[in-house]
Symmetry: C2
Subunit: 140 residues, 2 copies
Amino acid sequence: MKISTKGRYALRLMLDLATYNTGEPVSLKNVASRQEISEKYLEQIISILNKAGFVKSIRGASGGYFLAKEPREYTVGMILRLTEGDLTTVDYKDESEVGNGYVTVKVWQKMDEAINGVIDSITLEDLKNWQTEENDFYSI
Amino acid sequence: MKISTKGRYALRLMLDLATYNTGEPVSLKNVASRQEISEKYLEQIISILNKAGFVKSIRGASGGYFLAKEPREYTVGMILRLTEGDLTTVDYKDESEVGNGYVTVKVWQKMDEAINGVIDSITLEDLKNWQTEENDFYSI
DNA sequence: TTTAAAACATATTAAACAAGTAGGAAAAGA
DNA sequence: TCTTTTCCTACTTGTTTAATATGTTTTAAA
């Protein structure tokens, strides 16, 4: 019942791109050092995001990545589902209909609805704002 | 991000005991055949529930198990946390404070709150009632 | 008093998954 | 040309999952 590093790093990566969006592409090397994540591992993760069109890349020296759309257009759910795969708490096809299996399915459905309610309502824009609030708080 | 068979089977096992509670102990053999789950695997799972005092056992021929308390005293959360271990979506101790890690933690916390809201509010009694409603529906 | 049914205990296994490393090739600016 | 960067694919190491397997102990019933 854990979200893996793949999904967690993907979210931090996307938020990093949203934060350091200056028009210039952001290199993975910079992201890796800011986030203290292996650059090689980030390469694999951003490859998924790239193929899905979530980011755009510029190859070659002084190349890098940037978000394909505005931060408010990415929900946490989109990013996690892409990198983690389906975020449901059970594989419904595995859930038995025998015994009392069909009753417990209701539990999993309610959990999934609750999870979706959270992750589909938070965007990268929200996360950016939370960052600023946090900074404001500590700088008073 | 999946609940394993251990937790899922534990819930169905506990609900089975709640359902077939006649005063007589319920044998795992019967649970296994009703739920179509390996009896040997169920033994391992009920051993956890037994050691935690969730069920009581009677050894020997015509022995079996029964719930230690009333169905309404068991939440889904109690059963899942016991068998699955901690149900949080991330290990907070692993979550970095560097980069923007501290912002994404808020996301995981909100997810966890949403999950807890569901699983801590549903009891075995509720599941029993859902079963009856389902049966009523189909028998009209 | 034997027998069979049941709980209890522990070891083993095969497959999948997680979390990276490793070693390069191709593109492009300086 | 050199260096930085993306891009691509294979490999590795450890852990977890979902069971099997092989018994021992207890106890009601025949």
